[in-house]
Each structure stands twice: as C-alpha cells, then as structure tokens.
C-alpha cells in the first residue's frame, strides 16, 4: 500500500477535564473513500476540526503525504490541500454557482473580476465530476436542490485541487435519488485520485461507496477495516461498543 495522504497517530484532544480524543490513529489514502463512523459524541467532528485547522489537536503526530505537519489555521489546511465540506455547506444563495465556487479566491484581470475564466474553470470542474443535474453554471444557488448544492460544494474542492476532501454527513438531508447522485459524485472524486473522508450515520451509504471504514467509540479508534472484509452487523457492533477489533463480543 502506498503512503496515505493523511496519517494521524496518537491524537489527543480535551476540553478542560473532558478527554474527547484519547490517542486516535487514522489513515486515508488517495483514490479511496474512507468512512468515519461512530455514535453521537464519539468525537468525529472534533477529529475533523483538527484537520481543518479550526481547532488544533493537543498532541499527536499528523503526517500529510508522509511529511509531519502542524495545522493551526484553516488557511494552512487550505494550502496543504485539505478541504472540508461542512454539513451546512456555507454557500451564498444570492450568488450563482460560479461565484460561489470562486468565493474568496476570485480571479482578477485588468483590475476587474475575470468572469469568463472563472466560468470556464467552474464548468470544467463540474464536467470532470460528470455532473449532469446542474442546468446552468450561472444559476443562483437559491434555485438549486439540496443535492445540487452538495454537488456545488464538492466541485468547489475539485477547483481548489484538494488532495484530501472531508465531507460531514453529505447525504443527511437528501432523498433517495439525490443521495445516489452525491454518492456517485463522491466515488468519481476519489477515482480522480483525491483522498475522500466521509462522516456518516447511514451505514447503507457507507457500504455502498466506501473502501475503508474507521469507527470511533468514545474517543478511541476501535476499528479500521476494509469494507469488503466486514459486515454491517460488525460495524454496528463497533459503533455501539458491543464488539471490538479482535472479534470478541463483549
């Protein structure tokens, strides 16, 4: 197996007396989709916030492409090539798709916004993900469905040439058809070489699209398995703490 895009070892994080992450190890590989699952309060969001630079870890080693890095700000994470698609997506409804995809990184030529160049790149990014559901790149986001919005948010990370894309519950608010579309999109994103991490409570989705599954239980990584080598029942066991990696049921 080649070098993981991201490799965490012994990550610790506490809020005052509360230890939320208690020595977590985690890996995600380029071209693969890794699920991060666990019950409410297991520490998934806290783990992600450390990677996105929003809330740095207290201790532990973070390797990016095999190099030890220290991520202290979102900007730094962005420079490394880490993009997080938050659950609330953070899109501006009053702006169109192109404007949202380039928000904060607008291209300027001749002192003004280079709309043509941005439109072209946005279109290419959507095409590279074989997005078919978006009619026009100049549509306002307010007119898009939940799945289309998710698509725009994911395509934005493509545009930024991210190496690691983390999606926080990307299908939580979506219906069957749109969930399907977003999962396909996630697959294509990974196929383009990006390391994708999905946080999800929906094991059906996880088994459909993920190559690896990592399970957090009360701040510890209790299992990291290949999807093809495990079952939903086992994963439910890891999540609820009735089963551990050595196979012994508690």
């Amino acid at each position: 197996m080649d070098v993981p895009v991201i490799e965490l070892s012994g990550v610790l994080k506490s809020f005052g007396p509360v230890d939320v992450l208690k020595g977590v190890d985690f890996k995600a590989y380029g071209g693969k989709v890794t699920a991060l699952v666990g019950d409410n309060g297991a520490g998934k969001s806290t783990l992600i916030k450390g990677l996105s630079g929003v809330q740095p870890y207290d201790a532990g080693v973070v390797k990016f492409d095999g190099e030890v890095v220290h991520i202290h700000s979102p900007r730094q994470a962005g420079h490394l090539g880490i993009e997080v698609v938050y659950q609330d997506l953070a899109l501006c409804e009053n702006l169109d798709i192109v404007q949202n995809m380039f928000l904060g990184r607008e291209e300027i030529t001749e002192l003004t916004l280079d709309e043509a160049s941005m439109e072209l790149q946005a279109t290419k990014a959507l095409q590279s993900l074989s997005v078919r559901t978006v009619k026009s790149v100049r549509q306002k986001v307010s007119s898009l469905s939940g799945g289309q919005r998710q698509t725009v948010a994911i395509a934005r990370s493509v545009l930024r040439k991210a190496k690691l894309v983390i999606l926080d519950e990307p299908t939580a608010a979506l219906g069957v058809a749109q969930t399907e579309q977003v999962l396909n999109l996630v697959r294509r994103l990974a196929d383009s070489g990006v390391a994708v991490v999905i946080i999800s409570h929906n094991l059906g989705d996880v088994f459909k699209v993920c190559d690896y599954i990592s399970v957090l239980y009360l701040g510890k990584m209790v299992a990291s398995v290949k999807t093809s080598e495990t079952t939903q029942a086992d994963v439910v066991g890891y999540i609820t703490g009735t089963k551990s990696m050595d196979g012994a049921s508690a």
Partner: protein, 408 residues
C-alpha cells in the same frame, strides 16, 4: 467525460433568451420590474389626471427633485445589501454640510472645505462600521443613536433654527444651472459609448475563452433602448421650458454627476472583488467568513461609502437651497430607505442594484410631485408613499419565498 454539457445562460437565440428571462421572473427574480411597472403606471396616471404633469418644466423639475433622494437611496444600497441600515445617513450629510459652512465662514477655500466635508462623512461611516462590525452593536441601534445625536450636533454647530446662505456659484449651479444644448448630447453619447464598450469588452473576454455569448441583437436592442430613452430625455430637457421671458433649457448639471456616480458605483458592485464580497456577506456572512473574506472590513467599507455618498446627497440639497440648514437630513432618510425598497432592493440583504434605488426614488418623487400638482394635502402624499412602500416590501417577501420554494 467532458461531453457533459453545462450551459451558462448565454446560449441560444433571441427567443431562447427571452424564454429564459420570463422563466427567471416566474422564479421570483423580478429585479427592477415591479418598480419600472410602478413608474410607468404612476407616470401615466398623473399625465391623465393633471395637465401640468407632462409639461417640459415639470419634466425637468422631476429630475432635479429626484436627485437628492436618488443619491441618498444609492448610498443606502451599499449597507442595505449587507442587511444593515443607516438611519443617520441624512443627518450625517447635515453634519458634514454644517462643517462645510463653518469652514467657508472661517474663510477656507470652498474646494478644501468640500474635501473636509467628505472626510467628515467618511469618518462618520468608519465610526458606524466600527461599532457594527467590530463591537457587534446592531446597525439599527447605532445609527438611530447617531440620528438623534447628529440632529443635536447640527444645532450646536449652526445654532437653533439657522439657515445660512452659501455663496459659492459652483455649488449653487449643480442644481440650478444647465448644460449647454450640445453638452447634453455629448454626455449621452459618452454614456452610450461607455456602456457599449463595457459590453463588448465582456463579449471579447468570453470569446477568448471559447465561451458562448448572447446573441448580439440583444445588445443592440439594449443600446437602442438606452439611446431612445436617453435621447428623448436630452431632447426634452434641451427645449425651452421657461414660462417667463428668459429662456431656460439644457440638461441640469446634477444629472451627469448623478449618472456618473451611479455608473461607477455599479461597476464597483458588479465587477470588483469588493463588490462580490459585499453581496456574499449580505447573502451569507458565515459562508463569506469561511471563504476567507474579511467580513468586518467589508462592512466598515460599506458604511464609509454610504456616508460619503450621503454627503453628495446633502451637497445637492445645499446647492438647491443655496443654503445650509440646521435641520437638514431628518425627513429624507426614511424616504431613502423607502426608495431602495420600492426599487426592489431587499432589506434582507444580498439582493438589489443601484439602479433599482434610483428607479424607486423616481417613483416616490413622482408621487409627491403629482399629488402636489393635483393639490392634494401633504397628508395624502405620506399615506400613498407609505402604502407603496408596504406593497413593495410585500412583493420582496413573496418573491423571496418563491425563490426559496424552488429548493426541493
């Protein structure tokens, strides 16, 4: 993979474009349409009801009367787009103009005094922005406080009930003098060339990236409409509108000033990074922040622009009166907010353009002017204007609902 076709809205022939336009309206993106409709209806109504409404003299009066309100409404758009408000814009202009008078009175050169007046305006805007963006006081409260405080400051600066003449011919001529006949035509030609140049420049950029362009006929049609409307306006204003012996004709000097400010302001909002970020912050401040936009700086800058453009409005006021008053700017600010909203600028933030505010200002001024000609008492004017405002805000709220309804 790149066989997937994603359009940009620029494709298709004239008919496709027209269909798409109606589709957008149906989806609630009405823009200035209701306000333009109101303008036409109100104009037609008064033309029928009053023989004085559609005269050359009144036509020119409308423009001059609308100038102050238009400028103030345009100023307010910069903060309304953020979902903020500046209730003190009128009295801020009043304070700046009081400062202008005191400097003149003390013997300062009028240009220097005017520059200082704008600096005062900018400083007040920065102060408001600081309270709103850095400390987190709601703009409604900060500017309500200043609205009260600056009324007092004006009185302190100028004395109770003071009206003081300003004897600077250059200032007075803004609202009271006209361009020579040829000047109006040259200005119209200049604006047409500028707006054509901007459009062709855009098309060239798109073509360079192999992106489709809208049918060129649409651009010609747009320019033709501008030329006809502008040409008619300049023609009518160039006719003698005097009812006495001395002839009065020409485009009032204030018009090119206001149009240029509108044009530049629109370029800033549509084509600069600042403009894009202003809309983004107004649409979703949290999204803007996560995208790395310095939200506080955008807010402060918007308040500075608002206050400085309000000073322009105050300058127009002083020019028209030829005097500085201690009570200036109290009434006009609410009309300014009303003008922006009537024109289709959303108080929720993120939606609206400068030209909307200008159209809204014309609707309000027309109502005031027309009802005045029909000799209705002032009370009726307030009731009608208030009703129009509520109607406009209702359309805004409804179209917002419809826009959101498109999510599934």
């Amino acid at each position: 993979m790149s066989d997937v076709k994603i359009s940009s809205g620029h494709e298709g022939n004239v008919r496709d474009q027209v269909t798409a336009y109606f589709q957008r309206i149906k989806n609630g993106e009405m823009g200035a349409l209701p306000a333009v409709g109101a303008l036409v209806v109100v104009g037609a109504l008064f033309s029928i009801l009053s023989p004085f409404f559609l005269t050359k003299l009144n036509f020119a009066n409308l423009f001059v009367q609308a100038a102050e309100l238009t400028m103030l409404a345009v100023a307010l758009v910069f903060v309304i787009l953020l979902g903020e408000i500046d209730l003190s814009a009128g009295v801020t202009a009043g304070v700046a103009m009081a400062g202008f008078f005191l400097l003149l009175h003390g013997g300062t050169n009028w240009i220097v005094a005017l520059v200082v007046a704008f600096v005062i305006g900018g400083a007040i805007g920065a102060l408001i922005g600081f309270f709103v963006a850095r400390i987190g006081v709601p703009s409604f409260v900060v500017t309500l406080g200043l609205f009260l405080g600056f009324q007092g400051l004006q009185l302190v600066m100028l004395g109770e009930g003071g009206i003081f003449r300003i004897d600077v011919p250059e200032i007075k001529s803004i609202m009271n003098d006209n361009l020579p006949t040829w000047g109006g035509w040259v200005f119209l030609a200049l604006m047409l060339v500028l707006s054509a140049a901007v459009s062709f420049w855009d098309r060239a950029r798109r073509a360079r990236h192999d992106l489709s362009n809208r049918p060129i006929e649409l651009l010609y049609a747009k320019l033709a409409v501008f030329a006809i409307l502008g040409g008619t306006t300049v023609y009518l204003l160039n006719e003698n509108r005097s009812q006495g012996f001395a002839s009065i004709s020409g485009v009032p000097i204030v018009i090119p000033i206001a149009v240029l400010i509108l044009f530049i302001g629109t370029l800033v909002l549509d084509r600069t990074q600042f403009g894009r970020h202003l809309y983004a912050v107004g649409g979703n401040a949290e999204a803007a922040r996560r995208a790395g936009i310095k939200v506080a700086n955008i807010r402060i800058t918007a308040f500075i622009i608002c206050s400085m453009l309000a000073v322009v409005s105050g300058l127009f006021h002083v020019s028209r009166l030829g005097a500085v008053e201690a009570t200036a700017g109290r009434q006009i600010v609410l009309n300014g907010v009303a003008a922006a909203v009537v024109g289709g600028v959303s108080l929720f933030g993120g939606r609206g353009r400068l030209v909307h505010a200008a159209i809204g200002a014309f609707v309000i001024v027309m109502i005031e002017n027309g009802l005045g000609l029909l000799e209705f008492p002032a009370g009726v004017n307030l009731v009608v204007t208030g009703s129009v405002l509520i109607l406009a805000a209702t359309i805004d709220a409804l179209s917002r609902k419809r826009g959101n309804g498109a999510r599934s």
